[in-house]
């Protein structure tokens, strides 16, 4: 732990080669472009690039994906500020104050503040990643089959609850659909082919990347092409470099948003959009000028952008320590690590002790590239926003097809991608969040194998599921989350509280 900074420097030094720097610059730029184009999300970008970089050495491929991830989460702020359309869901809160700033002629300072606060958020997140992953990894070593089963269920329930705040039932349905999708194909104990229906292709199950590219990429292509509206871009940008006074003035907001971002990132499947909203809300509550929020508040903009980028580091903490993704793009990153032979989880610190430092060094490079590109290529990037959607979207579709095909070299995967695109489109339209479904696809195997393995170990006795301390905590939180969203339970609790108050008043 003490040697952590030294290890990070060593890994950073190893990464400083001309080819690596070229990858970092190129992929961060691609990430920013993907993020800033409304309709293309960070998850879709990372999923697409996972397929496209499959032929590269593992280290280069993961580096590229991390750069795309960081770049895309930041890039969405650009369209939020200039178009009032969040480039990715993570930047929805940025619209509230970024666009009013652009409307009053402060597009440049807004972009500058968004860039620097995104950088600070990412740096804060990655230091938390380097510090907390080994700690959580030590705790995770105590996890056994019972805990892993509950961890999967806990992840789905919490993620469904937070990504569908107005209607958690839809979030949970999406999560369970994802869990069921993961059950197709040969299972992990006796290799029995479930739901194959005699088709050889189905015996292997649905590959993760075609499913993700379908749910995020194809659904978005269809959604964007359905719309006829052409957004208007604010192109008058003058001074971009932020006033350092603003950053110093709002240092507490930056720190608070960073902490919130990391904590929310570490919760399975929740992700950057929730981190941005919660950071924004806390900043408004703690602000000396809350009335300025929503009307071009610099503090609001800083809070949202710090929160969503700090979430990236937080989301990777459970990826590396528990093999449970903290956000949808982190889920794809986890899938990419598996594809390239890295097995994140409790044993990572034992099998690949330097991997955490290597990933941290990759994040440092990505955040520096994001800062430099974000502050320097302002006018070039604005031109990207002007590319007509009927030109861009078919090209994206072609890339999605290659991304889905590349990993297994099977036409079947293209059809899987298309099918999940057709599922993802109505899901999005009718308020079913995609993140719990993605998390379900990732965690389904973990839930299945560990549940059955646990029962085998206890000769069919389910008691340890409810008596082991960590299991008990996970069950309690899961039940609390479900019951807290039940109207009936809330009514009973409210009635009980009212009765208790009356009883207390009577003495």
């Amino acid at each position: 732990m003490v040697l952590g900074p030294w290890h990070i420097l060593v890994e950073l030094w190893k990464l400083l080669t001309p080819l690596t720097l070229l990858y970092v610059t190129g992929s961060t730029f691609i990430g920013i472009v993907i993020g800033m184009l409304p309709g293309l999300t960070a998850t879709m970008g990372v999923a697409l690039l996972t397929g496209l970089t499959f032929g590269l050495p593992p280290k280069d491929a993961i580096l590229i994906l991390i750069c795309v991830y960081v770049g895309a989460i930041y890039g969405g702020s650009r369209s939020a500020i200039l178009l009032n359309i969040p480039g990715t869901p993570a930047n929805a809160a940025t619209c509230l104050d970024g666009f009013p700033m652009a409307q009053r002629g402060e597009a440049g300072p807004a972009i500058g503040l968004a860039t620097t606060s995104s950088f600070l958020g990412t740096v804060f997140g990655l230091f938390c990643l380097a510090f907390f992953t080994p700690l959580l990894g030590k705790i995770a070593l105590q996890f056994q089959s019972w805990e892993f089963f509950w961890l999967a269920i806990f992840g789905i329930i919490v993620c469904g609850n937070l990504t569908a705040p107005t209607d958690p039932l839809k979030g949970w349905i999406a999560g369970f659909v994802g869990l069921l999708v993961s059950q197709v194909g040969q299972e992990g104990i006796a290799a029995y082919p479930r739901f194959a229906f005699g088709f050889d292709q189905m015996r292997g199950g649905f590959a993760l990347i075609p499913v993700l590219v379908g749910v995020y990429g194809i659904a978005e292509v269809l959604g964007v092409m359905r719309e006829t509206m052409v957004p208007r871009v604010m192109t008058q940008i003058h001074k971009v470099l932020p006033r350092w006074r603003d950053l110093w003035l709002y240092r507490r907001t930056i720190l608070r948003s960073g902490i919130i971002g990391v904590i929310i990132g570490a919760i399975p499947g929740v992700g950057e959009d929730v981190a941005a909203w919660v950071s924004y809300d806390f900043a408004k509550r703690g602000s000396k000028k809350p009335e300025e929020f929503g009307k071009g508040s610099r503090e609001g903009l800083i809070a949202a952008e710090t929160g969503n980028n700090a979430c990236i580091g937080g989301a990777v903490i459970p990826v590396l320590s528990l093999a449970v993704p903290g956000s949808a793009p982190a889920a794809v990153l986890l899938g990419a690590m598996w594809l390239h032979g890295v097995r994140p989880g409790p044993l990572l610190m034992i099998e690949f002790p330097n991997y955490i430092w290597e990933v941290t060094a990759m994040f440092i490079l990505a955040s520096v590239a994001m800062l430099i590109l974000g502050l320097s290529l302002v006018r070039t990037l604005v031109k990207v926003l002007m590319v007509p959607r009927p030109i861009l979207m078919p090209i994206v579709f072609v890339l999605c097809v290659i991304g889905a095909f590349a990993i297994g070299v099977r036409i079947f995967d293209i059809w899987v991608m298309l099918a999940f695109g057709l599922l993802g489109y109505p899901m999005r339209k009718y308020n079913y969040p995609a993140a719990p479904m993605v998390l379900g696809v990732i965690l389904g195997d973990m839930a299945d194998v560990n549940f059955r393995r646990a029962l085998i170990r206890t000769a069919g006795d389910p008691t340890p599921f409810f008596t082991r301390p960590i299991s008990l905590i996970l069950v309690a939180i899961t039940l609390f989350v479900i019951l807290s969203r039940s109207t009936q339970v809330r009514r009973v609790l409210a009635a009980g509280l009212a009765r208790a108050k009356v009883a207390l008043a009577r003495g």
Partner: protein, 160 residues
Amino acid sequence: MRDEFRRQDFYTGLILCVVSLGVVAECWRMPRDLQGWPAYASPGVVTGLLGLGLLGMGFALTLRSVRRAGGTPFGITGADVRAYLADVGTRRLGLMLGLSVLYCLVLGRGLPYWLTTGAYLLAVMCVFQAGPWWQILLISAGTTAAVAYVFNRIFAIPLP
């Protein structure tokens, strides 16, 4: 409580109930003594439980949509279907989907990748009036060549 997706929720709930019942039935048919493992470790245990969970949620979704007042009625009339089909957005969606499915159908059937992809890009950009014909032609050809070269030659990814 009003719900803007009351009708959709009703039908989604019904579909979920039917699908999850199918899942549970299929799990029940799975072997319960596979390779000597006990019944509680059979392949259908967790999947069946998940199916039951989804059945419960589908039932709750349907029940909730029935109990919620207001919103659109559950029945779908001919006028509803005609209005949906006449919508510009639906037509754009149908065109994009149709062309994309056609592209996927043609891929991997012996035609060269550059031909199918170039034709697909050209068709979509023409149908959606992305710009003047020479610009569309140039972009389609350039993109196809770039995609084929970068992924096939540089990244060594086989193309469909």
